[in-house]
Symmetry: C2
Subunit: 438 residues, 2 copies
């Protein structure tokens, strides 16, 4: 009856590590904001002190990976320069300055005279983090974990193993200077362990993948632990009939070319048939100048788009300077297309009609639905969260760009004075349900 | 690479139904509060008008099920009397009076002059509901769906098929009188369909099981769709060293006997060794009078508990007048036991020491952690939610008793005036991130 996963059972060693980290999470869960901030300061100091060792270890990783034929873009992600490391350390201190996500009272209610209910944010417990190549991700995610009172099992790419080990030494040294987090962060080193991690439902409360779409998809398909992330990012812009053509072109261009490899870049442009001719006439040269290859349906080909878009294009995330174009009869066809092909990440409409915009915003079920602006704004920093833990395309919260609040949950605390349900069932007492100040 | 589930692929007919319901959910997602309340009034009227037909159908189900040998407790759950149906209809009207969970602005922020970000609650989309025996569950869950703007695929037990069909006719009739929800509720009739439902990730956003622990466990193990519910409810009460013995006994008794079949009843009592003797001396006769069988570890047997509790007892949900007892050295041992065996539903401490209580509340990672009151308070109505969609024992929100807010998610709306990221990347513009009134 149980879900069969194509990943191995966790090894006894991994289970022991997980138990240890889970145990450490209990202490971390009782820590004060000051203690957690102090831990981050100590971690930043330790990273500063160990800079030489970390950079030396990074050179070892780089040399070995180059010999092993790692491709250029992965090598550049692997590389830690003095400047990059310094930025990371500043990042740790920035995380310590974010608002504390723990201890927020979300509900405060007197159920009856002596019976007070609270709903308060608490850490999730243990995070499972799987990241590829970039050792700076280890520093960033470890600091977000500590900030939010969570312990973590961290698995980096084997190509970065020497660097990650040196970073881990600094994290440990920093934590040891405080009294709260010893053993709260553990580095997993083998691929076998990262697979086993996916089956640690008993110990791990959230998995955060940092890597390729394929990595995220594999993880989502092979674990019952909630995953904070997204695989594809197939985003759309729909250009409506009543529209400022220049603004719409500017939005389309920004959404495609400002950073085409980003998950929030658009892959498909939907254009209302009544403005298709003028929109394409004006925009084809602009896209061409920006190096964008356009692929269109047969209608847009008649209007000058050179390459044909097939059905496959509507579900392809190019992550490149390629844009598919479809001409639609109305906003309903646009909505239907988006609901069919969107990754539910971010989709936008360009229109001057408020009513059409509102219909679009209420009908497109994506984490972000935008009106008259670029999809590239979908980002935790741009939203003002101060940090981005990930972008989630699931339906349930947290979705969209997720800040620190994605690393916490809540617990109901009920405090009484010997109160029993029998007295309420008998009618001797009754619930007043009076909300108290938060 | 994909998760292998031991459930069949959905049939073409089921997929068609799901597509139809998903389509209907778009209209429902744009409805106003008034429209949804009106729909509930119309549903209540239709149920009232069809009372005779529903009760007649229920007799058919009862007769057939009795012949087929359905056990007594299931027969009583299946039975709809005039009074019970009237109460259900009143329940529908009560749901229409709950606060609207849709359209709440949770975040309102000016990113820059023309760029306004909102986070607003929206319906989840389509609920998948699987319930056993009780046809009143169909009425209740359908009204919660409509109230929260969600469409639903509903699968009841085959023993209630005639009743469910008559109820469904009323639901449809009610919805048809409004303009919003035609086709938003669909009744699935075969077991094959309810299994296929578990694989409809593309269409169904949340599964709500209403039935036995086994049903819930099977569903949780066999779907990648989020499940709102809990299988076991292994709850604990820990009686600390510094405690008012009489109050502690009263809490223990209420937590066990007030309704032993409930998920929030305790199964295990942990007692600090320094008060074990006096607590057991006083409470054994009281438990005995209440018909409770006590099973204890060896230490508590020395103090008068007759039956032996084995390791298996610590992870058994009796749902009956049986209570296992363990004597512990201190609060840490109690916390460790609870973290190991608890279903993370509701666990309580009885103590006069505030410091010990706070440690317990911060260390026990259950949805509800209580101080000096009965675990039986863990209930959406007792919390003042006005409705209970389910009780969730997962880590991520929503957890614990879940009201209507468990049936909604949020969406980010970003409205601009041709704003593009390029201008912010170039430094021409910068984010102001000013919070606006909610």
């Amino acid at each position: 009856m149980s879900t069969k996963l194509s990943v191995p059972n966790p090894s006894p060693h991994l289970i022991k590590e997980a138990e240890r980290v889970k145990q450490a999470s209990i202490l971390l869960g009782q820590s004060t904001n000051e203690q957690r901030c102090e831990a981050l300061t100590e971690i930043a100091n330790a990273l500063n002190d160990n800079t030489d060792e970390i950079l030396k270890a990074n050179l070892i990783d780089l040399e070995r990976s180059e010999k092993e034929g790692l491709n250029k873009s992965l090598l550049s992600r692997l590389q830690l320069t003095q400047t990059k490391l310094k930025e990371c350390i500043e990042g740790v201190l920035k995380v310590s300055k974010l608002a504390d996500p723990i201890g927020h009272r979300q509900l405060h209610r007197k159920l009856d005279e002596t019976l007070i209910l609270e709903r308060v944010t608490v850490p999730l417990g243990v995070l499972g983090v799987i990241f590829e190549s970039r050792p700076d991700a280890l520093i960033q995610i470890a600091s977000l974990s500590v900030r939010s009172g969570n312990a973590a099992l961290l698995k980096g790419g084997s190509e970065a193993r020497a660097t990650n080990q040196e970073i881990m030494n600094s994290l440990d040294k920093g934590l040891r200077k405080t009294n709260l987090g010893v053993g709260a962060l553990a580095l997993l080193t083998t691929r076998q362990e990262s697979l086993g991690l996916l089956r640690l439902d008993r110990f791990v409360n959230l998995i955060i993948p940092r890597g390729s779409n394929e990595l995220v998809q594999f993880i989502q398909d092979n674990t019952r632990i909630p995953v904070l992330g997204h695989a594809d990012g197939i985003c759309h812009l729909y250009v409506d009939a009543s529209v400022d053509i220049d603004k719409a072109i500017s939005i389309a261009l920004d959404s495609k070319v400002q950073y085409p490899a980003a998950c929030n870049a658009i892959e498909t442009l939907l254009i209302h048939e009544s403005v298709a001719e003028i929109f394409l006439k004006k925009s084809i040269p602009i896209f061409s100048n920006a190096g964008v290859t356009l692929k269109g349906d047969t209608k847009s080909q008649v209007l000058g788009v050179k390459n044909l878009a097939t059905d496959e294009d509507w579900s392809t995330e190019y992550l490149d300077l390629i844009l598919s174009i479809k001409i639609v009869r109305n906003v309903d066809e646009a909505i239907a297309h988006i609901r069919k092909y969107s990754s539910r990440h971010t989709d936008a409409i360009a229109t001057n009609e408020k009513k059409v915009a509102e219909k679009f915003l209420l009908s497109v079920d994506s984490a972000g639905v935008y009106h008259n602006c670029s999809t590239r704004f979908a980002d935790g920093f741009r939203y003002g969260f101060g940090a981005e833990v990930g972008i989630s395309t699931q339906t349930l919260p947290p979705r969209g760009p997720v800040g620190l609040e994605g690393l916490v949950t809540y617990r109901y605390f009920l405090r009484g004075d010997g109160d029993v349900v029998k007295d309420f069932a008998s009618g001797e007492r009754s619930f007043s349900h009076t909300d108290l100040p938060l």
